[in-house]
Every structure is written in C-alpha cells, then in structure tokens.
C-alpha cells in the first residue's frame, strides 16, 4: 500500500520542468533585450544561420551580429553560470553549516577574492600583452587562500572541530582580509575606483573567454554538489548524529566546502562580488517547496541562473544605455521579493 515516498514529499514534476522553462525563457529574453536596438527576428535568423544545414541567412549586419554573439550572448551565459554557481554554493554552505545566514562568501572567499583583486590592481605588473589576465587569477587564488586560512584556523581550535568554530574562524579571517584589503586600497588610492568597480560585481565586460574560464569549474563543482545533495540532509541533524549514521561530518564538510569554494572562487574571479544571490535563491526555493536539500540544491541551480540573468536584464535596461551595478539590482529586486516569499510562507526558518 505505502509503496513510494509520501506524495506530499515528492517534488511535482512541474517544479523542475517549470524551473528549466524559466531558465530557457530568461536566456531568450536576455538575448533579445539590450540597449542596442536589434530586432528579435534578426536575432532569431542569426541564431538559425549558425545551425548547419538549415541554410537560413542572417538578416543582421556584421556589427549587429558581433553585438549579439560577442557581447550579449556571453554576458547572458556568464549570468547563468554565475547565478547557478552562487546559488548552489549558497545552498551547500547553508546545509553544511546548518545556518540559514551562510552564503558562499561566509568563510572568507569574498574577502580573499577582494584582497587578491586589490593586490592585482594595485601592484600587478602591466599585463596588457599577457596571455592571461592576472586579475581573475589573483581573485581566484585570494578566495581559495581565504577559505583555506579559515578552515585551518577553525580546525586547529582546541575546543573542537565544529561548524560553529569554523564559522567564527571564517568571520575572523574575513575581517582580517577585508581590513588588509581596505588598507592597501587606501594606500594605493589611485586604484580606488577600479577596486570598487570590481567589488560591486559586474557582468559588463563579459566575453566568451570569461565563459570558457569558468565553465569547467561551474560544471564540475555544481555537479558534485548536486550529486552529494542527500548528504546535506544527513548533515542537518548535527555532527554527532550524522557520524553515527555512517558519515564523517568533518570530511563531508571539507568536501562540500571545497567544491562550493572552488566554484565560487571561479565565478567571483570573473564577475566580482555579486551579493545576495547565494542567500536569496536557496531560501526562496526552500520556502516555496521543501526543506530537503535533495530538492533545494537542483532547483537552486536552475532558478539561480534565471535570477541573475533577470537581474542583469534590469541592470542594463532600466537606465539604458547606462548600467546599474548588478549587485545593487540583486539586492534591490531580490530583497523585497524575498520578503514577500518569507511573509507568505508557512514554513519555519530557524
């Protein structure tokens, strides 16, 4: 009689289907909408012309074609990658730390990336002729170093290796790195504007090279986090119980934090510190569907991508052709939306 999971606990198919559809729709909208006035038909014909054997002739001239394929498309794709990665990483952090306020920057990834970026901007060699841009590399390394520092500090605390000591270590490391970053920024004040521009986060200058740079990280890291989503549910009963359920909580935590950090570091390196996404998206999913990470993690992946693409559409159209920093949009649009979801939901967040 009771053969399967209770029906109320099964995620209705239309949630996954709807989230996937939303992603497709936002990507198309992202491709169609922009400050350059290019007709939707032109974009469609140009897209079809790229599919072999269809023999459709693009109705766009070279410049319009460049705008769509060299500027707008990579920006949309990067938005999907960054939004998905930050959301999945955020859901993993919340599960691992059993803390609803955890976001991907909790353990010093943000502060470390900021410091790395500042170092590269202020002291980096002139890299104009280089094959790779040192700025994302420095931000990436900074994010990793920040989290490793927090992790080492948290796990050498004598009172025990718990999630709480790790969070406290993260807070200490983040405060230290941020202070260091602010200090350097003030010393090298001619770089102030560039550093601030980077910290605010931006997809303004995204190109395919940025997409290629982060794609492998996002694919591998989000695949790992989605694959291990069931363990996040086990972790939610606390370390000692999880350990008697056959897990090594500290190892699981290391593994999940490791991949969440790697992915976060990669996207932060190319997009700067886009805030709010990692908190708002997983919580919205949780409030609308279920508290189980088996559902939250994959849905965050799909909805996070859509959310950031939508936020970016707002960022580049509201004051077109001027832009608004995307971090401002994610907070301005995301926070009130989240408040509505929070008020309407029956579920408890504690």
């Amino acid at each position: 009689m009771n053969a399967g999971r209770p029906s109320g606990l099964r995620l209705p198919w239309w949630w996954i289907g709807g989230a996937a559809l939303l992603l497709v729709v936002t990507v198309i909208a992202g491709a169609m909408i922009g400050p350059a006035s290019i007709s939707p038909w032109g974009i469609i014909s140009s897209t079809l012309s790229r599919i072999p054997f269809l023999n459709v002739q693009s109705s766009l001239d070279t410049r319009a074609d460049d705008i769509v394929w060299q500027i707008r498309m990579p920006r949309v794709v990067l938005g999907v990658l960054v939004g998905s990665m930050l959301s999945v990483a955020g859901s993993a952090y919340q599960g691992v730390f059993r803390n609803p306020l955890a976001d991907p920057y909790l353990l010093g990834a943000g502060a470390g990336a900021g410091l790395g970026a500042t170092l590269a901007i202020a002291y980096g060699p002139d890299a104009s002729g280089w094959f790779i841009d040192p700025l994302p590399l420095a931000a990436f390394l900074g994010a990793i170093v920040g989290v490793v520092l927090a992790y080492v500090l948290g796990y050498t605390v004598r009172s025990g290796r718990t999630a709480v000591t790790l969070i406290l270590a993260g807070v200490a490391v983040a405060a230290f790195l941020t202070a260091l970053q602010t200090f350097l920024q003030q010393r090298e004040s001619d770089t102030l504007r560039e550093v601030y521009g980077w910290i605010l986060g931006s997809l303004t200058t995204a190109g395919w090279s940025e997409v290629r740079l982060v794609l492998p990280y996002v694919v591998v890291c989000s695949a790992v986090l989605v694959a291990f989503r069931r363990l996040l549910d086990v972790m939610s009963v606390g370390d000692s119980e999880a350990s008697t359920l056959g897990l090594r909580p500290s190892r699981v935590r290391l593994l999940l934090i490791g991949f969440a950090t790697l992915g976060t570091a990669a996207v932060v390196a190319v997009s700067g510190l886009i805030g709010f996404v990692g908190i708002i998206v997983p919580h919205t999913v949780r409030l609308l569907t279920s508290a189980s990470y088996r559902i939250i993690v994959p849905l965050s992946l799909l909805i996070g991508g859509s959310f950031l693409v939508l936020a970016d559409i707002v960022a580049r159209t509201v004051q077109s052709p001027a832009e608004i920093p995307i971090g401002v949009v994610t907070a301005l649009v995301g926070a009130p939306f989240f408040a509505v979801v929070l008020r309407r939901s029956k579920a408890v967040v504690s």
Binding site: V234, S236, V237, S240, E241, T244, V348, S350
Partner: protein, 263 residues
C-alpha cells in the same frame, strides 16, 4: 548477534578526565541501563561507545574493536539517539526516518524502493505512519521520541544506544516510550545501552544496570543488586529509600527531618 564490551575506557577533554577505567559488558539482546547523578559521565560513555568521542581502552561490538571500523560499517552496527536530538525545521517525519538508511547507501546513491519500504515499516511499527508528511520540528515530545526510535529501527542496527530517551516526558508518555523500546528489544533482538535518570523505571525495564559516579563504575549487576539503599545513598544522597511494590523496586528520596521543621 552483538554484545557490547567496554574495557578500561577513559575519556578526557584536555586535562579534565571525564571517564576513567570504565569496564562493562552487555550481553546480546540485553538492555543495559546506565545510571548515576548528573555529570557522572553517562552521556560521554554512550558517545564513546558510538565512536563519537576519542577514548583510550577498548570498546568492542561482538568481536570487532570500534576503532577498526569505518564510519559506515559502524553506522550499520550501532544506532544512536542523543539526549537532545536536532529535528531540522521543515524536514518531514518521513525524510527524517529515511536518514536511518544512510549507512546502507553508497555516498552518491539514491534510496532504493527497499529503503522506502523499510521506512514505512518502521513508521507503522511505532504507529506514526499517519504523520509521515508532518514537519519533525512541529511534533510533541512523545511524538519526537517515536520518530527518533523509528529512525533507529530503519537503521537496522543490532546495537541501539539511547541517551535519556524519556528525559522531558510526563509519566505516562515516559512509560509508553519505554514500552516501545522494550518492544523493539524483544521483537528485533537488539542490544540496548541507555542512560536513564529515572531509577524506578530503570528497575522495571533494564536487564542490568551500571552505576557511574565521577566517571567511574561504582556498581554493576542486576537492578536488585545495584538499586541498594547503601550504594545509592553513597552516590546520590543519604536520604534515598528503596521500597518494593508488586515485586518491583521503587526508588524515592525522602526529605530529611531537619528541613521539615521550617514549615
């Protein structure tokens, strides 16, 4: 078929010694009650047995030293309910009980139909299949104990370690939960080690008792042997009295004569 054997076990946090030279053994299918005053080291002993705190000395399940087992195979052999379990808000009763299947699954594997069936079975045998979809964080004290026991059942471990399963329950609910544990003990043939603060209940349900004080074993044996006025009086307070009602020992603490004068 698993017995539990603890020999010369010590646990310390830094320089503070919580347990020292604790030895006890629990026969297969028996229920061992760990009693003693607050701070005697009962919870620590249980946590050492489930491998959650580092210890010196030896703890074996059957004939395997727990330190030699990986976390997963240990999880298949021993189930544990802490004194104050965490019931994650928003998690359904079903999903919570399903966590008991974790040691039986590969790291990346999803639950099989068999696991789902075992969860339903566990819910039914504790009469809580009706609220499989309820939020675990919204349940009453007695209900959450049943949910935790259902997870223990789903884990299908031959040894069950319970830390004060009835601490916050009223008399009737406490009795009900203890009956359920006894039922699990007899129907599944599991070995139970539980910390229990109610000495009268311990006398009725446990097969054997170990009395701990300041991290050392003070007495061990049948409830009749351990629940002795002289022994308990030395550990708890001298005013303790043991009386017998319908063949079962009842432990009470009388108010001393001196303090009654004030009224």
């Amino acid at each position: 078929m698993t017995s539990v054997s603890v020999s010369s076990v010590g646990v310390s946090y830094g320089r503070i010694e919580i347990l020292s030279q604790v030895s006890l053994s629990v026969g297969d299918g028996r229920w061992m009650g760990i009693i003693g005053p607050n701070g005697a080291g009962k919870s620590t002993l249980l946590r050492a047995i489930v491998g959650a705190v580092p210890h010196c000395g030896s703890i074996t399940l059957g004939d395997t030293e727990i330190g030699n087992e990986d976390a997963k195979s240990l999880g298949r052999r021993i189930a544990y309910v802490p004194q104050r379990p965490i019931y994650p808000p928003g998690m359904s009763v079903f999903d919570f009980v399903l966590l008991g299947r974790t040691p039986h699954l590969g790291l990346l594997a999803a639950e099989r139909a068999e696991d789902i069936a075992i969860v339903w079975e566990s819910l039914r045998s504790l009469s809580i299949s009706g609220f499989a979809e309820r939020d675990v964080a919204s349940l009453s004290g007695g209900e959450t104990q049943r949910v935790s026991l259902a997870r223990v059942l789903a884990q299908q471990a031959p040894v069950v370690v319970l830390d004060e399963a009835t601490a916050s329950l009223d008399v009737a609910a406490q009795h009900e939960v203890l009956e359920l544990i006894a039922q699990i003990q007899h129907e599944q043939g599991v070995t139970i080690v539980s910390a229990i603060h109610d000495l009268t209940a311990a006398a009725q349900f446990c097969d054997e008792l170990t009395l701990l004080d300041h991290g050392r074993v003070v007495a061990m044996g049948s409830p009749e042997a351990v629940l002795d006025e002289a022994i308990l009086g030395s550990v708890f307070e001298p005013t303790i009295r043991v009386i017998e009602i319908e063949g079962s020992r009842v432990v009470v603490s009388l108010r001393s004569q001196g303090s009654r004068h004030g009224e």
